[in-house]
Amino acid sequence: MTHPPNVRTAPQSAPHHAPPGHPPAQPPAGRGAWAEGRRRLRAAATTEPGRLQIIGAVLAALVVAFGAVTAFEVSARASAADDVVSRSQPLSADAAAIYRSLADADAAASSGFLAGIEEPSDVAQRYEKDIALASRLLVKAATNTDSSSESGQQIALLNEALPYYTGLIESARANNRLGRPLGGAYLRFANDQMSRDLLPAAQKLYDAETARLQQDDDDARFWPVLSLAAGAVAIGALVWAQRRNYRSTNRVFNTGLVAATAATTVLLLWLAVGHTVARAQLNDADLHGQQSLKVLGDARINSLKARANENLTVVARGAVLTNDGKSDKYETDYAVGMKQLGEQLHRAQLLADDGKGRGPVEAAVSAVSEWQERHKDVTRTDRAGDYDGVLRKVIGAEGSTGESFDKVDAALEEALAHEQHEFTAAAKDGRGALSGLPVGAAALGVLGAAGAVLGINRRLSEYR
C-alpha cells in the first residue's frame, strides 16, 4: 500500500536537537507523536546519557513485566489448585457418594425383601440413610452446577428417577407384606430401573465431575511459561547492561543493577521451585489419591451391584434369563460384577503406595474370596432345593455371603477414607507451595525495577 507523497508535510518547526549532519530536508517517517517519539529516541541514542536513560527504562520495564506476569500466572495456577482442593474434588467425591448410596440402597432393599415380611430394622435404616444421603447430595451438586451442563442434565435425570424408584420399592414392600408374589416382581422392576436409569446417570455425573477435577488439576500443573520466559529475558538484559557498564567504566559492580539482578533471580528461582513443588504435590495427589479413589470407588460400586444381583437371584429364582435365554440373568450379572471387583481390587493393590493404604485393600481381597466361596455353597444349596438354607447362607448373621459383603464394604470404606486423606493432604501441600508467590512476585518486581533505575541513575549522574 502506498501513501500519496507529502500529504502530510514535514513538521513546521525545525527540530532543535537535530544533529548537525542530519539533512533537514528529509521528511521523518511515520506520523505525529509516534514519529516524534521515535525521532527523539533516535536522537537520544546518539549520546551516552541518552542511551543510558533508554537502557534504564527498558530494564525497569522488563523487571516489572516479569513480576507482573508472574503474579498473574501464578494467581491463576494457585486458584486452579484451590479449586482442586476445595471445589472440584469435593464435588467429584460427592458424585461418587451419590453413585454409591444409590447402589447401596438397591442392595439393602433386596436384602430387606429377602428377610421376609418383616424387614430387619438395620437394613431398613441403611436403605433410608442411603436415599436421604443421595437426595441431599443431589441438591448440593445442583447448586454447584450449571443446569445445562452434562452434570446438570444427569442431576435432573436423577432427581426425576429417584422418587419413582423409591415408589417402586414401597410397592414391593407393601405387596410382600400382603403375601403377594407381586412384591418380588416389583422389586425386580425397581432393580431394573436402578440399573437402567439411575446408576448410569450417577456414573455419568461422576465422570463429568471427575473430568472437571482433572481439568482444574491440569490447569494448576501447567508450567507458567510466560513468566519463566519473561524472567529469563529480564535477567539476560540485566547481565548485558552490567557487562556494558563494566566495559565502559571498568567498574565490576553497580549496586543498583546487582540488586535488581538479585531480586529478579530470587523471583525466578522461587517461581521455578515453587511451581515444581506444587506440580509434584498435585501429581502425587492425582497418582496416589485420585486414581486410587477412582479404582476403589468403582470396586465398591461393583461389590454393591454384585450383592444386589446375588439377592435378586434368590428373589427371582430363574424368572429372568440372560438374552440368549440360557442362564439366570442375576446370577450372570453377579459373576460379572465379582470378576470386575477382583480386577479393580488388584489394580488398587498396585496403586496403594503405603502400608496404611494396602491393609484395607488386602482385607477386601480376602473378604471377596470368602464371599465367592460362600456363594458357591449358596448355589449348591439352591440346586438341592433348600430355600431356607439358601436364605440363611445369603442374609444370615453369621457365615453368610451377606457377612462377607459387609466385610468387603467396610474394608473398601476404610481404604477410600485413607486415599481421600492422602489426596487432600497432597493437594493442600501443592496449593501451599504457590501461596505467597503472587505477592512476592509483585514486591520483587518493584524492588528489581527500582534497583535497575537507581543503578542506571548513578551512572547517569556521572555525566552531570
Binding site: 408374589p181 429372568v320 440373568k329
Partner: protein, 343 residues
C-alpha cells in the same frame, strides 16, 4: 447330546413302524430323526418347532397329525415301575420344576417362606406316590421358557408349572393326562374399554410373557395392538410388552405402561387376586388349553405312573385343592377335565 436326541426318535420310529409298515416307517424315522436332531436348543425352541419343523413333519408322518388332534391324550395309567421311577426312588427325592410367582398355583408365601399352590399340592401327591412322602420333593423354580430345557438336560424329573399341552410341545416333552382346563384370556382394569380378545384391543398396548402361548396367539392375531418390544431377544431388550414372567405384566399394568395382559385365565385369576382393580375380560377364554405334568420324552414309565396318580387325584384331592386355592378367584369350575388316553 446326540444320545439324548436319538433315543426319543428311535422310540417313535418303532411306534410308527407298528402302524404303517416298513417303507413309510423308515421314511418317518428318517424325517423325525432329522427334525429332532436339528432342533435348536435355545429358548426359542418351542416357536421354531411349531413354525418350521412342523411342516417337515406333516408330510412325512401322518401319525403325527392324528396325535395332534388330541395332544392331551396320554399313555394309559399304570402303577408299575420302570428305569426312570427306579432312579427317582434311589435318589429318594422327586425333583420338580415349579413356578414361585404364580399366585395360588406355585408361589412362595413370604410369611411361611414355603411354596404353596395348586401345582405344589399335585407335585406333593406325585412324590408321595413314587417316593412315599409328600415332603420327599425338591422344588426348583424355573422360568417359563426354561421348562423344556430343564427337562431335556435333566435338571428336573417333572415340571408341574401351569404348563399347557400343545402340539408343538408334545414333540419336545411327554405330558401326563390333563389335570386342569384353562384358556387364554385378557386381563385389564375394571374401568378399561377393553372387552376381551377382540377388536377393542386395537391400538392398545398388551403385555405377555416371552415365549408363552399368549404371545403365540398375539402373533397370529393381535387386533392391531402393540405387543412386541423393539429389541426382543436382543441386547437392550426393553422388557416392556414381552416380559420374562407373566407377573411382570401386572407391574407394567399397575404402572400404566400397558393397557392389558394376555395370559392363561388361571394365571390371570391369580393376578386379579393380587389387584382388586383388574378383572378378566370376556365371558370365557378364547382358547381351550389343558395343563399337564411334563416329563422328558421317553420317560414312559413315569408318565404312566403320574397318570395313575391323577386317576386317584381326580376322585377327591383335586376338588380339595381347587377349593383351597382357586375357587375364590376362578369360580364355576365343576371338576377336573376327563382324561384321554392313546394306545
Amino acid at each position: 447330546m446326540t444320545d439324548t436326541k436319538a433315543r426319543p426318535s428311535g422310540r417313535r420310529s418303532v411306534r410308527a413302524l407298528r402302524g404303517w409298515g416298513g417303507v413309510a416307517g423308515m421314511a418317518a424315522a428318517c424325517a423325525l430323526t432329522a427334525a429332532v436332531t436339528l432342533l435348536p436348543l435355545s429358548h426359542g425352541g418351542a416357536d421354531a418347532l411349531t413354525g418350521n419343523t412342523g411342516q417337515a413333519l406333516t408330510s412325512a408322518v401322518a401319525a403325527k397329525a392324528d396325535t395332534c388332534e388330541d395332544p392331551e391324550a396320554s399313555l394309559p395309567p399304570s402303577s408299575a415301575g420302570g428305569p426312570t421311577i427306579d432312579a427317582i426312588k434311589e435318589r429318594g427325592k422327586l425333583v420338580v420344576g415349579v413356578d414361585q410367582n404364580s399366585y395360588r398355583w406355585g408361589y412362595r408365601n413370604p410369611v411361611s417362606g414355603g411354596l404353596e399352590g395348586f401345582d405344589i399340592d399335585l407335585a406333593r401327591a406325585i412324590a408321595e406316590d413314587i417316593v412315599g412322602s409328600p415332603d420327599a420333593v425338591i422344588f426348583r423354580a424355573i422360568p417359563t421358557n426354561q421348562r423344556i430345557t430343564a427337562l431335556e438336560n435333566g435338571t428336573v424329573d417333572i415340571v408341574v408349572r401351569t404348563m399347557t399341552i400343545s402340539c408343538g410341545r408334545i414333540e419336545q416333552v411327554a405330558f401326563s393326562t390333563a389335570y386342569f382346563q384353562a384358556g387364554q384370556q385378557v386381563l385389564a382394569s375394571k374401568s378399561s374399554s377393553i372387552t376381551g380378545y377382540d377388536t377393542s384391543l386395537a391400538g392398545k398396548r398388551i403385555c405377555s410373557a416371552e415365549g408363552s402361548t399368549a404371545y403365540e396367539a398375539l402373533e397370529k392375531n393381535s387386533f392391531g395392538a402393540t405387543f412386541k418390544d423393539k429389541h426382543d431377544g436382543l441386547p437392550g431388550d426393553e422388557d416392556l410388552y414381552t416380559v420374562p414372567n407373566q407377573l411382570d405384566c401386572l407391574v407394567r399394568l399397575q404402572q400404566g405402561m400397558v393397557d392389558a395382559i394376555v395370559t392363561d385365565n388361571a394365571l390371570a385369576a391369580g393376578q386379579a387376586a393380587q389387584d382388586p382393580a383388574v378383572e378378566l375380560k370376556g365371558a370365557k377364554p378364547f382358547t381351550t388349553e389343558y395343563y399337564g405334568v411334563a416329563t422328558k420324552l421317553g420317560h414312559d414309565d413315569l408318565v404312566r405312573r403320574i397318570n395313575q396318580v391323577l386317576v386317584d387325584y381326580r376322585r377327591g384331592a383335586w376338588q380339595k385343592a381347587y377349593d383351597r386355592w382357586l375357587a375364590a378367584d376362578l369360580p364355576g369350575i365343576t371338576g377336573p377335565p376327563q382324561p384321554k388316553y392313546r394306545n
